[in-house]
């Protein structure tokens, strides 16, 4: 078995009530997530990301369609699936009154981790997530980044081979977000499959082996980041940076289907006697792909989200 998740025709329809039409939050989506990969699930607000995660983790019942997680049928084997997955929701949701250590121990108790393993495992997780000194600090008194890290640690406490991370770095400062990304990258090295939703396209670009883009409940693209880039923009873009006598800089871009050389020639013919400071060939970013497929820019998507995280994707 090489698929951690297999989804076929998964659909979720919400019936809001009298007089209002049913809402098709997730509309017959198909995808597979390979074991050991970091799979990005991107989309604007209301696209169906959280509804999909809620169905796959057993929090919500699909209207139709099937899903298999770790070889187990979601409909028939939910309790066994729950034992083998870890879920980090968008909001850190551990218990304010319990210490960092006790929160981890409680997670292990719920998942049946043997008593003898709980203490050393909790200490190891605290050390790994740089929370060793906060072991006896109540969850309520941790910083936002520490809360996020502890929530991820709690999801890993029972050593699940598949982890769902819903917007793990949203709202974190640059350093905390950077640390968390390193931790997520570390999970892949351990062979843990990660299903990641994020609003930070740069984050998805850095972390994900493959990315699915969901818009209005339907998956509109699914590929590696490189594959999405090449599919999104086949024309070459050349950018020339020019400077005039006053050192004022200007950038000019040109698309050209018949090679870089001809594009450069065309740009140089338009320099108007100015100095050429640099010539670059531009590749489309995941953001370009996203904009093309959804019609939304990353800024708009973050604004929709309430721009909770500022610009931490750069960290």
């Amino acid at each position: 078995m090489t698929e951690a998740i297999q989804v076929e025709g998964l659909t979720k329809v919400f019936v809001p009530g009298k007089g209002r039409p049913p809402l098709r939050a997730v509309d017959e989506i198909d995808f597979t997530v390979r074991q050991g990969e970091v799979f990005g699930f991107l989309g604007p607000n209301g696209a169906g990301k959280t509804s999909t995660i809620r169905m796959l983790t057993g929090l919500s019942r699909p209207t139709s369609g099937t899903a298999r997680l770790l070889g187990l049928d979601l409909d028939k084997d939910l309790p066994r699936i729950k034992k083998r997955i870890g879920v980090v929701p968008e909001a850190s949701n551990l218990y304010d009154e319990l210490t960092a250590f006790d929160n981890l121990v409680f997670s292990m108790q719920l998942y049946g981790v043997p008593r003898i393993e709980r203490r050393p495992r909790a200490i190891a997780l605290l050390a790994r997530f740089r929370l060793g000194e906060k072991r006896d600090t109540p969850f309520a008194k941790l910083s936002r980044g520490m809360k996020r890290a502890l929530t991820i640690a709690a999801a890993l406490a029972h050593r699940p081979p598949l982890v769902f991370l819903d917007e793990p770095t949203t709202g974190l400062d640059v350093m905390s977000a950077r640390n968390l990304r390193q931790m997520i990258a570390g999970l892949r090295e351990e062979g843990v499959t990660v299903f990641l939703t994020t609003h930070y396209l740069e984050e998805a670009e850095r972390l994900c082996d493959r990315v699915a883009i969901i818009v209005k409940g339907r998956i509109v693209a699914l590929d590696t980041v490189a594959g999405l880039r090449s599919g999104a923009q086949r024309k070459t873009i050349v950018e020339v940076t020019l400077a005039d006598a006053d050192s004022q800089q200007e950038k000019k871009r040109i698309e050209c289907e018949d090679g870089v050389e001809s594009a450069v020639r065309r740009l140089l013919s338009e320099t108007g006697g100015r100095h050429v400071l640099a010539i670059d060939t531009l590749h489309p970013s995941l953001e370009d792909v996203f904009v093309q497929l959804t019609g939304l820019s990353a800024e708009v998507m973050l604004a929709e989200k309430g721009a909770k995280g500022g610009s931490n994707a750069g960290g």
């Binding site: 983790t57 057993g58 929090l59 919500s60 019942r61 309790p79 066994r80 729950k82 034992k83 997955i85 879920v87 929701p89 909001a91 949701n93 551990l94 218990y95 304010d96 009154e97 319990l98 006790d102 409680f106 997670s107 108790q109 719920l110 998942y111 049946g112 709690a154």
Partner: protein, 243 residues
């Protein structure tokens, strides 16, 4: 699966007791509130204080179990912590049973303190101890289930507190705590029979006065019935809410 359910139940109850129940304000409120009420009535009618003991115990269990129980689930749902439990490998009835167990344990602990004080002040002779503890446990189960139902039926913590008081206060004045049921008009007696507190007070009265099992059977049966009905109503309501 059963082992997962039982383990989950136990640890949820343990976590709730540590995180919410055994806090100083909760303990003092759980003990002082029923004492204050009983004291007020005892001052007015000092000749028959002993007859108020079953009501005192019933009130202590009612407020000890339901005060926190009524807000724990709705609070955890608001902060997202309930989702952690829903994601854990246990079934919904086990999750709610864990919540009930926490409320019951706290309510019974506080009630045992009140019982001990009552027995020091008043004589314990003639008490049917097995019946007394059965009545206490069944009362705690019924009131905890009532609290759980209130907690899953609303969306906000303040709504839970309002609804809990809306149910508890009429129950307190009609349930035979302060005024014997027999001295009420018939129509009020009929209404009183709809409340679990009425059966709790009667069962505790029978146990403390050394009454027979035949006398207590209806009250104990009714408490068991309320426990089962309110528990499954809470499970059904929560299942609908989370979907």
């Amino acid at each position: 699966m059963l082992a997962d359910d039982l383990r989950g139940m136990f640890y949820i109850a343990l976590k709730d007791l540590r995180a919410y129940y055994f806090k100083p304000p909760n303990i003092s409120w759980g003990i002082l509130f029923p004492f204050a009420f009983i004291l007020a009535f005892a001052i007015r009618n000092p000749g028959d204080i002993r007859s108020l003991v079953p009501g005192l115990l019933a009130l202590t269990i009612l407020f000890g179990t339901s005060s926190m129980e009524a807000i724990v689930i709705v609070f955890e749902r608001r902060i997202g912590a309930l989702e952690r439990l829903l994601l854990a490998p246990l079934r919904l009835p086990a999750l709610l049973a864990g919540k009930l167990l926490g409320g019951m344990t706290f309510g019974l602990t506080v009630t045992l303190v009140v019982l001990a004080v009552s027995l020091v002040v008043f004589s314990a002779s003639g008490t049917n101890w097995i019946m007394l503890f059965l009545a206490l446990i069944l009362s705690a189960t019924a009131f905890s289930a009532l609290g759980a139902f209130v907690s899953v039926a609303v969306k906000e913590v303040f709504e839970a507190q309002t609804l809990a008081n809306f149910i508890r206060f009429p129950m307190m004045f009609l349930g035979g705590v302060f005024v014997p049921l027999a001295s009420m008009p018939v129509w009020l007696q009929v209404i009183a029979r709809l409340f679990p507190l009425t059966y709790s007070v009667e069962a505790l009265h029978t146990a403390l006065s050394g009454g027979t099992w035949t006398t207590a059977a209806l009250d104990l049966g009714a408490l068991a019935g309320f426990s089962v009905a309110l528990f499954f109503l809470a499970v059904y309501t929560l299942a609908r809410r989370i979907e």
